[in-house]
């Protein structure tokens, strides 16, 4: 089983987001970057499958040199090798084109991604890659079980889950509880240093969208406190002041 896992390099979930250069660029100062939380689930499940059935896991990121520590972390968690496509990933279509190109060249049985990136939250790249490669794509996937060539998936839908029977090759956008996050151990960290990390130039693809300036959500005007002994006053305020009832 040959699995490609696509990971993002994103600010840690506890980060406070701020911008610079007239709000056109994320201010990265002081931010810790991590493997995207959903990508971490995808990677953990891919490594579990490899450990159970044999095969290889390749971690891939489309990003500039700054993302290499994140790829090394994926190697420490259990990926066998890594690929970095050397480009600034500003548009989902551009990213999908790069991933599809590598997949065509290398031929994977399955491509695991996160359900969505935590920066742009599009939840698009897996579907795009599936369509580009003519493979089925499923997201958000909470469970994947493999029996021979048969794959059983649980996909979250509003208000529940649906169970799907599919076959390889396929593309998955993963989320919890597909696997427990893996924390790299010392041996993993040591071996990650010598595992191959290949840097490849991007194929040409025009960006279909372009990002303009950023805004922060307006601050709330402050919290109005209601005494617990007269809690029912809240209902009147919601009705007549906030006008949401």
């Amino acid at each position: 089983m040959k699995i490609l896992v696509c990971i993002t390099h994103v600010p840690d979930t506890t980060s406070k987001i701020a911008f610079m250069n007239s709000d056109t660029e994320l201010n990265k100062a002081g931010l810790t970057f991590v493997i995207g939380p959903y990508d971490d689930y995808a990677l953990a499940r891919a490594v579990e499958i490899k450990e159970a059935q044999g095969g290889t896991v390749t971690a891939l990121n489309v990003g500039l040199a700054e993302t290499e520590p994140t790829l090394r972390k994926a190697l420490a968690i259990g990926a066998d090798d890594a690929i970095r496509i050397d480009a600034d990933p500003t548009d989902a279509y551009f990213v999908a084109t790069q991933i599809a190109d590598i997949a065509r060249k290398n031929g994977y049985d399955a491509i695991f991604m996160g359900r969505e990136s935590s920066d742009y939250n599009g939840g698009q790249v897996h579907g795009m890659v599936g369509e580009m490669l003519g493979m089925p794509s499923f997201s958000p996937v909470m469970k994947v079980e493999i029996e021979g060539t048969k794959v059983t998936l649980a996909r979250e839908i509003e208000g529940g889950k649906e169970y799907i029977e599919a076959s390889f090759p396929l593309v998955l956008g993963c989320q919890e509880p597909i696997a427990e996050w893996k924390i790299p151990n010392m041996r993993g960290i040591m071996s990650a240093r010598t595992k191959p990390l290949q840097v490849i130039a991007p194929v040409s693809q025009e960006n279909l969208t372009s990002g303009g300036h950023y805004e922060l959500p307006p601050a709330r005007s402050g919290c109005k406190f209601i005494d617990a002994s007269e809690a029912e006053k809240l209902i009147d305020l919601l009705k007549n002041e906030a006008k949401v009832l």
Partner: protein
């Protein structure tokens, strides 16, 4: 140039978030001076209900009455929509973000060579020269970005509350159309669906009541459910609550769960960790009930009550029932 709005169904009804998309599509058509149509796949809806799409601003409804589409099979849906888009000369597809909508839109983007803007929060700020300037939510609700979509074909995936339609009495006429779908389009089989029915779905809800670890256990959820019922709200929870299996995973709100933007979000016994706030910060009005006056959630709240949830919630429910 023409607009197509993809309309989803749930429990044999039109989905609330899809009706917002219909209203948005109608307003966008007016802004651009073009025609808008809506499309429904499958036969889950009666003709009466299809005609109701007209109430939300689009009076031309296309239906592909193929029973195989009664289940949301991703590839079949995207292939069907791809055919409709080219047959009908569609340049812009509008849809509400959802587990099916997102999966279908991504594949359709490739078929249409369309620029896709996701998490769109309002009508375009500008459409001059065919370039849409769209405000969308990024960094999991922590920021917005103005994104430009310059391609001739475009797909807009809307965040909840991007548009508030005002229903009219107009009714839509329904046209049956057909597409050719092969067995391969249905190659992935949905073998079982486990789904709550008759409950207000979290992503569609205008009001949400969420409970956190402060409720101490699943057996205490009655106070939350009662308040939600009195408010006609959907119920949500914090991540530890779904991790502990006190509540189902699809109720988990936040950075790694459902992102909601209702008119009213009531958080009970939730501390207000940044990952939880990320999923709720675009709610119009936030109420926090917590026994700790220093809980960080109060900083993100419009109204707060410091006290014991088990005493406060029944009072609120009673006051609502008396309205």
């Amino acid at each position: 140039m023409a607009i197509l709005v993809f309309v989803e169904t749930a429990d044999g009804e039109l989905r609330g978030s899809s009706l917002e998309a219909v209203g948005y599509g109608a307003a966008l058509a007016q802004q651009l001076g073009v025609q808008a149509s809506a499309i429904v796949l499958g036969t889950n809806l009666s003709q009466d209900k299809l005609a109701k799409i007209g109430n939300y601003g689009i009076t031309r409804v296309l239906q592909i009455a193929d029973d195989r589409l009664n289940q949301g099979v991703i590839q079949a849906y995207s292939n069907a929509l791809g055919q409709v888009v080219s047959a009908q000369g569609i340049t812009t597809v509008v849809l509400a973000k959802s587990s099916l909508g997102d999966a279908v839109a991504a594949r359709l983007t490739v078929k249409m060579q369309a620029g896709l803007a996701s998490n769109v929060t309002e009508l375009p700020l500008s459409v001059a020269g065919g370039v849409f300037k769209l405000k969308r939510s990024v960094f999991t609700g922590k920021a917005f970005q103005i994104t430009e979509v310059k391609t001739a074909n475009k797909i807009l995936a809307l965040k909840k509350n991007a548009f508030a339609p005002v229903p009219s009495s107009d009714s839509a006429t329904v046209e049956q159309i057909s597409v050719s779908l092969s067995e391969a389009d249905f190659g992935a089989k949905i073998i079982k669906t486990d789904k709550v029915t008759g409950e207000l779905l979290l992503p569609d809800a205008d009001k949400v009541v969420s409970g956190g670890r402060g409720l101490k256990g699943p057996e205490n959820w009655g106070v939350i459910l009662d308040l939600a019922k009195a408010l006609e709200a959907a119920t949500g929870c914090s991540k530890p609550v779904s991790d502990l299996d006190w509540r189902p995973h699809h109720e988990h709100v936040g950075q790694t769960g459902v992102k909601v933007s209702p008119n009213l979000y009531v958080a009970v016994g939730i501390s207000g960790a940044i990952q939880h706030l990320a999923g709720v910060s675009s709610s119009k009005c936030i109420v926090v009930i917590n026994k700790d006056a220093d809980a960080p959630f109060f900083k993100a709240a419009d109204y707060g009550i410091v006290g014991d949830a088990f005493e406060i919630l029944p009072k609120l429910t009673k006051a609502l029932q008396a309205l």
